[in-house]
Symmetry: C2
Subunit: 290 residues, 2 copies
């Protein structure tokens, strides 16, 4: 039998993202052993029981020295500290990737702490469900048919990028590449802004005296529009601040758009309203999730 | 066998809303015959072929004289003209209801054209799907378990309201009552505003040079948030204008809410963002569609 592609993988954060990565690579016969690190002993024990990881790591230096691949799958806000801790112990051939939803801030933290080893870090963002979390939610096919965006750095060698790309492809994902800047602008527009708008609508209604009456008449349109408003407050606080600049530009542009709609209402401008709704309806009608 | 509750029903607009009303009452053995009127001969013929209606009406005066119940199930913008046409021919005991998504404007049109016969009109809004339309989409169980809001008028007798309520209940709906004003305020907040916000987001993205790139990375959050942006532009133009005052107030209040979020981003105010997201997440998490 051929050697596995990655003899040893070290994962920080053994929940949905990290656990599924490990299970997928195991299923693809692409890994020797998987070692997990994390803040909660209970979570680590659960991940080991479930078979998401083979071992719970304790000696960081020893584990990192001969690791082929390190995955940071913690909340983005914890990654700076992890980069600082791993930097002194990274093996020469160890590559690092991550599962963070924002990239400029993660890259900035990596540059700050990895120094000249920054070439070993190939940032990634797997576009996969965030409604469930924890080791029990991990599954080998989470990334199957999903997108993963790599945001390679100028310092990365082509071979390193190819190797990390291969890891995500072995998980079943379709991998594409953007710059970190492009990534954050795209996701501010198509993900972070909609989340913020959905939170804002529910917060708006939730503060009213007649909120129970209002919610009792809410139907399927409301249900779908606000599904993402049930997301984790902590996670979205962190994402919003991590991608603050791009998100502020998006909110500003959206407020301008909303003012155009408001003016059309104010002016009883049926043609303008129809024009806005028609373009939106056409574009949304033709859109297909890839 | 007992007499049917409604010996003769006349329906204007034989598509999803009107056709399903007819099929539901037929299934409940609650109607003798159903006569359909409409603008398109082809649609009427299709409705008859499908058995949604028994006959296509031609002599308005003759059909209305002995009708028990008239349903206006056309787009709201066409209802004023229908009230004007039916007013001279309404039988003394004929009751009228409608299926419009807005109520103040329909009531205003009814008052204008029905004059003293306004007591015969009991306005209604069935909260049932609008993604499909036309006679072929009609089904006997469309209203099963759905909500119908009646907005009775001071002129209505209790017996008339009870009779129209019964018709909707025989369709399987749960009927509640609001004033027309209350109705329009509630639906501006929980339905019309979300539609407008969703249209605005897609329109915002659709106008950009990099729209194809953006849309290629949109995922399930975007999918659900924008599902309602694929709705009919004409229908939502009409609803937006029909409920213009309440909707303008809602857009204004939402813009204020959005500014609060924007300021929290600008001030790097993690606690404020988390507070907003947490209340929204709790309220949305606890909400159940009734």
């Amino acid at each position: 039998m051929a050697e596995p592609k990655f003899k040893k993988i070290v994962i920080f954060g053994v929940g949905l993202i990290g656990g599924s990565f490990a299970l997928a690579l195991r299923k693809a016969n692409a890994t020797g052993e998987v070692v997990g690190f994390g803040r909660s002993a209970q979570t680590l024990a659960q991940a080991q029981q479930l078979g998401n990881i083979d071992r719970i790591g304790s000696d960081l230096a020893a584990e990192l020295r001969n690791a082929d691949l390190v995955l940071l799958a913690t909340p983005v806000a914890q990654m700076a500290e992890i980069f600082a801790r791993i930097a002194p112990h990274l093996g020469k051939h160890t590559l690092i990737t991550d599962g963070g939803s924002t990239k400029c801030d993660v890259v900035e933290a990596a540059r700050r702490h990895l120094g000249t080893k920054i070439a070993q870090f190939i940032p990634a963002h797997p576009i996969a469900g965030a409604e469930l979390s924890g080791p029990a939610a991990a599954q080998a096919d989470l990334y199957q048919g999903k997108k993963v965006v790599l945001t390679p750095l100028p310092e990365n060698s082509a071979a390193s990028v190819a190797r990390v790309r291969k890891a995500w492809e072995l998980c079943g994902a379709t991998v594409s590449e953007l710059t970190p800047q492009q990534h954050d602008e795209v996701f501010a527009a198509v993900s972070h802004l909609p989340h913020l708008l959905s939170f804002a609508l529910v917060h708006d209604l939730a503060q009213r005296d007649n909120r129970d009456l209002l919610l009792s008449f809410a139907a399927s349109g409301f249900r779908d529009f606000t599904r993402i408003a049930a997301s984790s407050p902590e996670m979205w606080r962190d994402i919003s601040l991590a991608n603050r600049d791009a998100l502020m530009r998006e909110v500003k542009q959206y407020a301008d758009e909303l003012y155009v709609v408001y003016q059309a209402l104010e002016n009883n401008d049926a043609a303008k309203l129809e024009e806005i709704f028609r373009l939106a309806s056409q574009v949304r009608g033709n859109w297909k999730q890839e």
